[in-house]
């Protein structure tokens, strides 16, 4: 690629994102966890909608998903379905998480876990292990960002230089404006991604078929590659069981940045309104996936399927659109890596360093802000440059673990009798199964490793909880006044909707 326009357009996007991120601070002091961590719990419904939407749409949407369509076909749509289900999860749990944060001062997921089970050890454990998946995710997105800069510059910016460039841009506005920068930049990135995805998709469809009739494309696909239109797909590896269990496991992965995003809302109602509209954003996936399908005929011999959109754009689309695609893909990867970097820095400071070293709240606020620098320089940048082959594996295991934390949330929202030992036993047993079925014996019987983990995790969690002492009654009552404002229900009994004071404490 010889034209300078794609790189200039991509760099223009970076410059705009930096200005927006820096201005997001608006003269506020950013040394407190409340401000830097959760934006003073101030975000309105539109910002929150775009924050969560752009955060969940990563470089995967612009590269991985079209690549799946190119290599496998319609199985890629499991992603769109589970993202919509995550909106249901946000609608139900988000307002309760916000209330916990607002009343009890939580700024991280792990601090809520530590508080519910009265166990800083459990909180620190959750923070550390959740950060494995979070860091792997941030590294993968950084690799995607560096790859885009490399391609848009025609190879002039090597990956080893692109990685620190991208991270430095993020570090500047993240340090200055914290969660407010993430909110504002994600809002900008969310709008940009939607516009770019549809512009590229429609232009590609027109260039491939001579019109905008998507039926012509899929009629040809039906005739020549009918297996791409149904499960298990072109690769033959997306069975009904894998589709189903992948959706369930992904749906119950309560990732820490999402938790922080919920706590950044201005009210519980704001979260419900944002979550309601969230599924509408996932129309962003369709045009990108269509380009992947076009690539099956236009680029039949691609070595790497996840380059299908970029390759198609560079061969068949005008340079200005290639530049916008670069900006859109970079926006997707940056908007997803920022929340994870922020969340890890916040959690390491609040949930690990503070209880371990007995730090004050004020010092912890400053530490969280500075923590992003060593995290980026010493962990994310070296990993992104080295691109270890095991990174995707670390990510899969990390995400598998995220699902294994489910008992902690069951005990927070649904079952007051859960104990910290029950949660720990469930997490450890589920994690071991997930690791084994991700690395040694991959997804036995076509069932997702994380789902196998849950099948052991949940019975162990219940059994050990029943055998051990629950958290103090006043703590349980404090949480369940929010989780069950109309009272609890006795399974197998006639007493329903009783006052929470009586039912939670067992004084009925």
């Amino acid at each position: 690629m010889t034209s300078p326009w794609p790189l200039l357009i991509t760099l223009a996007y970076v410059a705009i994102a930096m200005v927006i991120g820096l201005r997001a601070r608006g003269g506020r002091r950013m040394n407190s966890l409340e401000e830097w961590g959760v934006a003073g719990r101030s975000m309105g419904p539109v910002t929150l909608y775009l924050l969560i939407a752009a955060g969940s749409v990563s470089a995967y949407t612009f590269m991985g998903a079209p690549g799946w369509a190119y290599a496998k076909g319609v199985p890629v749509f499991y992603v769109a379905v589970y993202l919509a289900y995550l909106a249901l999860v946000a609608w139900y749990f988000g307002p309760k998480v916000w209330q916990f944060g607002e009343r009890f001062g939580h700024v991280t997921q792990a601090s809520a876990i530590a508080d519910r089970y009265q166990s800083p050890l459990l909180g620190a454990l959750a923070a550390l292990v959740m950060s494995i998946g979070s860091i792997a995710y941030a590294v993968l997105q950084t690799i995607g960002s560096a790859y885009i800069l490399n391609v848009m510059s025609g190879g002039a910016i090597p990956v080893w230089l692109a990685v620190p460039l991208v991270l430095a841009c993020i570090a500047v506005y993240l340090f200055v404006s914290g969660q407010r920068a993430i909110g504002r930049t994600n809002a900008f990135q969310g709008v940009l991604m939607l516009a770019v995805a549809w512009a590229v998709g429609l232009w590609a469809l027109h260039s491939a078929t001579g019109g905008l009739d998507v039926g012509a494309l899929f009629s040809r696909l039906l005739a020549e590659h009918g297996d791409f239109l149904t499960l298990p797909g072109g690769g033959g590896d997306m069975s009904f069981s894998f589709w189903t269990t992948s959706i369930i496991v992904s749906m119950f992965s309560f990732m820490p940045p999402v938790w922080t995003q919920w706590m950044s809302a201005s009210s519980a109602r704001t979260i419900r309104r944002s979550a309601t509209w969230l599924p509408t954003y996932y129309v962003v996936i369709l045009p990108m996936v269509v380009v992947g399908f076009i690539g099956i005929f236009a680029l039949p011999d691609l070595a790497r399927s996840d380059t299908v959109v970029l390759e198609y754009a560079m061969q068949f689309l005008p340079v200005w659109l290639v530049g916008l695609l670069g900006a859109g893909t970079l926006a997707a990867s940056m908007s997803s890596s920022e929340p994870f970097i922020h969340s890890v820095a916040l959690s390491w400071s609040k949930d690990v360093a503070q209880p371990l070293l007995g730090l004050s709240e004020a010092f912890t606020g400053k530490l969280a802000r500075w923590m992003i620098l060593p995290l980026m320089a010493l962990v994310i940048a070296p990993l992104a440059i080295a691109e270890p082959g095991s990174l995707v594996m670390i990510l899969l295991v990390g995400l598998g673990f995220a699902t294994q934390v489910l008992p902690a949330f069951i005990g927070m929202f649904l079952w007051p009798r859960a104990s910290k030992w029950g949660v720990m036993a469930g997490i450890v047993s589920g994690f071991l199964v997930t690791v084994a079925f991700t690395t040694l014996w991959k997804h036995p019987l076509g069932i997702h490793a994380g789902f196998w983990g849950l099948m052991l995790n949940l019975p162990v969690f219940v059994a050990v909880s029943l055998a051990t002492r629950p958290a103090p009654a006043e703590v349980v009552e404090r949480f369940f006044r929010i989780a069950a404002p109309n009272g609890l229900t006795r399974l197998g009994g006639a007493e329903k909707g009783r006052a929470v004071e009586a039912s939670v404490l067992g004084r009925e």
């Binding site: 289900y85 609608w91 998507v214 039906l222 599924p279 996932y282």
Partner: protein, 78 residues
């Protein structure tokens, strides 16, 4: 503390919403997904793609209704 105490809906509207949420999730997984797993085109798109977006927009619609229900329930306490 009783081990049999759990959080469940306490009103008819709450149960309706829970059933709607479960139906939405059921609609996107097996066995329902098996019934729409056919190599036919609807509106020019594969049936599975159309069904995925039906589920996605149904989620949106159910949450819209759920907001109305909640607001109606909260009003008497305002």
């Amino acid at each position: 503390m009783s081990s049999r105490l759990v959080v469940l809906p306490t009103s008819r509207a709450g149960w309706g919403l829970l059933i709607a949420f479960v139906a939405l999730v059921a609609g996107g997984i097996w066995p329902v997904i098996g019934w729409v797993n056919r190599a036919v085109l609807v509106l020019g798109l594969p049936l599975l793609v159309v069904w995925s977006y039906v589920i996605i927009f149904a989620c949106f619609a159910v949450m819209l209704v759920a907001n109305r229900v909640l607001e109606r329930q909260e009003k008497p306490h305002d």
